[in-house]
Symmetry: C2
Subunit: 152 residues, 2 copies
DNA sequence: AATCAGTTGCAAACGATTTGCAATTAAATC
DNA sequence: GATTTAATTGCAAATCGTTTGCAACTGATT
């Protein structure tokens, strides 16, 4: 269907592969963590902590635990954090080897999210970096508009 | 000096012109508002509400008043809101006629900010919109890196 | 000067996120 | 499999940016 974000969905990682990445980092595989990773695996879209919490079987895990888990997963590079400007952080699983860098197109009316393959042109980014003497330049980029269903 | 953000600084608006824009919208010119506009005028960089508050002569105005003023100024298009992903909104004055759309390059170490003229290529943005059936597409874009002074 | 809607200060309320701490538990050890 | 220990969790309280209710106040108009 959404052909332009296919690559973000292709390789749905095995839960086992995810937990082994954790173990490799000397982290414990706990019930809450396994449950969180499973939710992320099933939702190839950026999720807020509250959304993850809502997906979890009630009582499975405290909201604070989710915050701590996402913090850790981000630090390990297993998850990428996104900011849609609505005051809540969102997270998406990152495949092994992938750096997770990509962008989204968000409907300003229904909050529907589409992954985007296009990126800011490297050449222009390099020019910007050079012109200002900056190094290690990256960018945060998200698109906003009205999705087909919301245009009326 | 920073030649690539010159156009954001060129025309420092007169305070009188700012207040007349307010009056035109049937808003009152109060002490706090004049003071806030003056601070914005003097700082051609995105400022957080707390920063504006700190610049203000103590007791000049309540922090809540600044929040309300910035909200109103944004609604009137006199100010543009930016989000650097650190949890605090930032605002910059917008010239008459200008829509305020532009981007920044932010040092991740010292938080130094440079205005950027480059923008995401319209043609690619149009392609993204079309490919997903979206209309009225815009973007939020900010660059991050290490400024000359922070590279060591 | 009188009027009145728009504004303000202050404190309380909020929503997202973080943190202290005692109780719990995964994983390494015996 | 029981023991040990450091990592992890739940819970409640604390933080931070931002919003809001409300009574007092003040521009702008009459």
């Amino acid at each position: 269907m959404k052909k332009n974000c296919a690559h973000h969905h292709e390789k749905k990682q095995e839960l086992a592969s995810l937990t082994s990445r954790l173990r490799r980092e000397a982290r414990k595989i706990t019930g809450p963590r396994a449950a969180i990773l499973e939710i992320l695996r099933q939702h190839p879209h950026p999720l807020t902590n509250k959304e993850i919490f809502a997906e979890l079987p009630k009582g499975e895990c405290d909201l604070a635990t989710i915050y701590r888990a996402m913090q850790m997963l981000e630090k390990l590079g297993m998850v990428q954090r996104f900011d849609f400007g609505d005051g809540a952080a969102r997270y998406e699983l990152v495949g092994e080897g992938d750096d997770g860098h990509h962008h989204h197109l968000i409907c300003t009316r229904c909050a529907n999210v589409v992954g985007i393959d296009e990126c800011f042109p490297e050449e222009i980014e390099r020019r910007i970096a050079r012109a200002n003497g900056f190094t290690g330049v990256t960018h945060r980029l998200e698109f906003f508009g009205l999705c087909p269903g919301c245009q009326k």
